[in-house]
Symmetry: C2
Subunit: 205 residues, 2 copies
């Protein structure tokens, strides 16, 4: 993705030629959890996992940033601690753009379209995090699965939900273990709630 294709710059009149672009190999740690942020980053190629470590030492992915998405955005205006909520680790060869905080701020007040785009992205991020909190608040494995399915039903506009990932990945996205997911899917099938195969889950009710 090129800079001018990013939502953030849609309709904007900012000179993109001066913006610094960096490239990283896969599994590279760009930033470390609790480090202070001094810039806003934009993912251009590859993915970035925002990983934090639980006190038990197990790591969990707070968020996965796709091309077009930002990091450090929540921190630039926040009045609280301005540190990264997790380590930023590349998945695949990754290209990012860097805008120092002070420049970013100038852009915002200089260009209303840029501002609108930023507000939209910030709001969307908050919205997504809300969804995640709701998922995590579901208190049984079955409820988590159903929450995900209803969610996807709305997005995919179909009762036949295509999983574009392995069960292993789905389980991790739902914050559960793969065998737990398997076991519950079987039970749900027995209870007539769903049908499923390797690639899809179909809501029956």
């Amino acid at each position: 993705m090129r800079l001018e294709e990013c939502k953030l710059f849609r309709n904007s009149r900012i000179d993109l030629s001066k913006i610094e672009i960096l490239e990283f190999p896969t599994n590279f740690t760009i930033e470390i959890e609790d480090n202070e942020s001094t810039y806003v980053g934009i993912v251009l190629e590859g993915k970035i996992h925002v990983k934090a470590y639980s006190l038990a030492g197990k790591d969990f992915t707070i968020n996965t940033l796709e091309p077009g998405q930002l990091f450090g955005d929540v921190l630039i205006f926040g009045s609280k601690i301005k540190t990264f909520p997790g380590s930023l680790i590349t998945k695949g060869k990754t290209k990012i753009a860097i805008i120092p905080n002070n420049e970013f701020e100038q852009y915002l007040f200089y260009d209303n379209d840029f501002l609108k785009n930023f507000l939209e992205m910030l709001s969307d991020k908050a919205f997504e995090m809300n969804i995640k909190s709701k998922l995590l608040s579901q208190d049984s494995v079955r409820d988590k699965i159903l929450f995900y399915l209803y969610q996807e039903k709305r997005i995919q506009k179909s009762k036949v939900i295509h999983l574009n990932m392995t069960k292993e990945e789905l389980a991790s996205q739902l914050y559960m273990q793969r065998p737990s997911l398997s076991r519950e899917l079987i039970k749900m099938k027995e209870d007539g709630l769903i049908d499923y195969d390797r690639w899809t889950i179909t809501l029956k009710k």
Copy 2:
């Protein structure tokens, strides 16, 4: 709290006299989950619980809004579904200010201070939600407690953490049952991790 005392209007030159103020009794449902939002609300007096219902029918509090805080703010610019993430239920006699979305948008582009305040509040909200996700991602009761304690240690700048709430409330804030909290606190005391009494928990390590 009066309107001019709200962070949102700090240094702003907006005419506050025209802003509509509403009052609600306690336990009043101002908005229902998944309803569409058409305005931004500011809590002036009392509290508002943002409550969602898990698929099991159990309700859980996504968020508690204190005086000065906003609701509907994430929705105004979001490109996704613009519906309330939970029902808004008053706790105590509650006073709120209402600003229709279109007016709110005008304020933002008209007044840079207002904009700055809004960005700060939006960022802070996203930050808080991040913290909450992290808490929910801790996979044992002990880890949740420790996460909370380390958090408070930073905020209160002391290893002696003052709980300004009952154990019942603490348990609910940590998304666990009170007996589970009690049981684990005892174990942690036995393990020499903490000391505690009715009002404080002291980190020993």
